[in-house]
């Protein structure tokens, strides 16, 4: 079922589609070409801007990707182990951090709670460092949260605590 079509001005004369036509067509066509190339490249593993496939647990923490945290922990990852965090995720440089340290460094209280519920230890061995990191970061909510888990007279000496980063 196709109806005969009526004219529009472009039908009544040879379609020049000159400079003006090119001016409007170039951006969309360039976009289509680049986007198609990116989609094809993605099928070969090149996915710029997407979360990398080799994300460590502390990096998933920095990206606040709770489902990835869950996936790695359910697959056997140790929520207390220090691993690589690549540059610019939480600090300008790349460092080794535990997931809890990465959570403090990125100022994510909800992630700290999430990790704790899934086996990350906040105890006498980790609490002083975490508290001092939070203080140094100016993360008052995290500091308050951690303080609630410490004895009332707990007062860590932050000057002797070594930060996991130096920038």
């Amino acid at each position: 079922m196709r109806a005969p079509e009526t004219t529009n001005p472009s039908d009544t004369k040879p379609a020049a589609g000159g400079v003006l036509g090119r001016a409007i067509a170039v951006p969309p066509i360039a976009w289509l070409v680049v986007s198609t190339a990116l989609v094809i490249a993605a099928s070969f593993g090149y996915t710029p801007f997407m979360t990398p496939i080799d994300l460590t647990l502390p990096e998933a923490v920095a990206a606040r990707d709770h489902l990835e945290i869950l996936r790695q922990i359910e697959s056997g990852a140790d929520p207390n182990r220090a691993e690589r965090v690549r540059p610019d995720l939480v600090r300008p440089g790349g460092y080794m951090m535990t997931p809890l340290e990465a959570a403090v460094a990125s100022g994510r209280l909800d992630t700290i709670e999430f990790l704790q519920q899934r086996g990350a230890r906040v105890d006498a061995t980790t609490l002083p460092d975490l508290l001092c990191f939070a203080k140094q970061q100016g993360a008052a909510d995290i500091e308050a949260y951690l303080r609630r888990q410490a004895p009332a007279d707990f007062a860590p000496r932050c000057e002797s605590v070594r930060l996991p980063w130096n920038d």
């Binding site: 079922m1 196709r2 109806a3 005969p4 079509e5 009526t6 004219t7 529009n8 001005p9 472009s10 039908d11 009544t12 004369k13 379609a15 020049a16 589609g17 000159g18 400079v19 003006l20 036509g21 090119r22 001016a23 409007i24 067509a25 170039v26 951006p27 969309p28 066509i29 360039a30 976009w31 289509l32 986007s35 198609t36 989609v39 993605a42 996915t47 710029p48 801007f49 997407m50 979360t51 990398p52 496939i53 920095a62 990206a63 606040r64 990707d65 709770h66 489902l67 990835e68 945290i69 869950l70 996936r71 610019d88 995720l89 999430f114």
Partner: protein, 482 residues
């Protein structure tokens, strides 16, 4: 201008337009497939229909308060049953099918034949995908995106009106109306398309077909308001955009319901809905970009929104002025028909937003706007390319058009970014799905329900999200709103 008939044969420009359409549909679909099925608005509907028969689902949803959407629920049920446990694949595939149909009917309605058509179509396709309302059709599933379905039904209705007609076309028109109106309230827009198209000389659906759909519309109204007593969508159930801010239900009650000024609120919503199509503002009733301009915050997003809307709607205004004499004489060509049907759909769509204005609801008007812009651009090219003017004026015109096209292209990129970014939010929700369900009093009580949640969560785990940490800061500024 006379109404010279021409054979509807495809040219190489037609095939180039189809190629661009296919590529765009493919790119959008890849974005849709990358994201998981979301928790909010998707999981609960799936759990609700899981243990009921299709007939029970239809009957129980035919008298919902304020809404009449039984086919939407039936589709959720049928896809759930047909998925054989591959839930995400089933729902996402259906979503992709709807996207393919939307682009197919869009290109079919445009009828690209010449080089000017092809250039205007390249512009129109980024207007379609760059519209803020387009995002509502692709970034969530619900788990069946009924807004997208309504847009497909409406553009299909337009294509039917462009056909050579006959009894089959009239029967198809009636079927389209029934399916659209029982899927979502805004499905009534299909009737607006039939009437507007007929009035501007599109004869694919005859007056007999229009009478049939009008009778069905009357039947719908009787069923909705008298038999089932469903009424209109409730006012003040959710926070809405108003002016420069969002107002909560209690505020709506205090300012409009208690003072008896509810009609001002309705009027604001209708005007906002209509304006949002042509000005890209307000967004869900809120004049965010204007507010940022007033506050001196002309960031790249604001600039691209302003430039894109000015160029596209400016072309439409120019088109209306250029064609006013032909319209007064009731001579409508293909371009006129697209523009007038667009205005009718935008008005109808805006009227349906009277109780609350939302970009998703206006998405059908957004699709017709892109078609209207196609006509206006084609007309402008055909006129300007053959006009003698000074070189400087020609260069300035080319720069303005290029800026408009580039701005819509940037908005299209922004839509893609935002679509992928919602996947990050969806993944976060899946990590907390048990707490969320408990908070909604929707924790599954059957083993099948628990399995459904577990399966969907596992499927979500295997998606890879866009992370803002891996997006350059300049891109965030250009493509992602605050």
């Amino acid at each position: 201008m006379g109404r010279t008939d021409r054979p509807a044969t495809a040219t190489r420009w037609t095939w180039m337009a189809w190629s661009a359409t296919a590529l765009m549909a493919f790119i959008v679909s890849v974005g849709v497939m990358r994201n998981p099925v979301q928790v909010t608005d998707s999981l609960v509907p799936m759990l609700k229909v899981q243990n009921a028969s299709t007939q029970q689902v239809f009957m129980s949803k035919i008298d919902g308060a304020g809404f009449l959407r039984p086919l939407y629920w039936v589709q959720i049920k049928l896809l759930l049953e047909g998925s054989r446990g591959h839930y995400a694949v089933a729902y996402k595939s259906f979503h992709v099918l709807c996207i393919a149909l939307l682009f197919f009917f869009f290109a079919r309605a445009a009828r690209v034949r010449t080089k000017d058509d092809a250039a205007a179509f390249a512009f129109a396709i980024v207007v379609l995908t760059g519209m803020h309302s387009f995002l509502g059709m692709v970034w969530e599933g619900y788990p069946v995106n009924h807004y997208l379905e309504i847009a497909v039904f409406c553009v299909a209705a337009l294509v039917l009106c462009q056909s050579s007609g006959g009894l089959v076309a009239d029967i198809l028109a009636a079927l389209l109306f029934v399916m659209a109106s029982l899927t979502l309230d805004s499905g009534l827009l299909v009737w607006v398309v039939f009437v507007a198209a007929r009035l501007v000389g599109l004869r694919g659906v005859s007056w007999r077909g229009v009478a049939m759909t009008t009778a069905l519309l009357a039947g719908y109204m009787v069923l909705r308001f008298m038999v089932l007593d469903i009424g209109s969508p409730p006012v003040g159930e959710r926070a809405v955009g108003f002016g420069f801010s969002r107002i909560e239900p209690a505020e709506i009650e205090r300012r409009f319901v208690a003072t008896g000024h509810l009609y001002y609120f309705y009027l604001y919503n209708v005007i906002s809905g209509f304006a949002s199509v042509f000005l890209s503002e307000p967004i869900s009733g809120r004049w965010m970009l204007t507010q940022r301009v007033i506050n001196g915050g002309i960031d790249p997003m604001v600039a691209t929104s302003i430039v894109s809307a000015l160029v596209a709607t400016g072309l439409l205004v120019r088109f209306v002025i250029a064609r006013r004499r032909e319209w007064a004489a009731r001579h409508f060509d293909h371009g006129d028909q697209l523009v007038i049907v667009c205005v009718a759909v935008a008005l109808g769509n805006a009227a349906m937003c009277f109780s609350y204005v939302k970009d998703e609801v206006m998405s059908t008007a957004g699709v017709f706007y892109a078609l209207a812009v196609f006509s206006a651009m084609r007309h402008a090219l055909a006129t300007w390319d053959h006009t003698n003017r000074r070189a400087a004026a020609g260069t300035a015109l080319a720069i303005v058009l290029f800026a408009g096209s580039a701005a819509w292209t940037i908005r299209t990129t922004g839509s893609q970014y935002q679509m992928l970014r919602i996947g990050t939010v969806d993944r976060y929700e899946w990590a907390h799905v048990d707490e969320w369900l408990a908070g909604q009093n929707q924790t599954p009580t059957t083993p099948q329900g628990a399995r459904l949640v577990q399966q969907l969560r596992d499927e979500a785990m295997h998606t890879r999200p866009l992370s803002l940490l891996f997006v350059p800061r300049w891109a965030v500024k250009w493509f992602i709103p605050e």
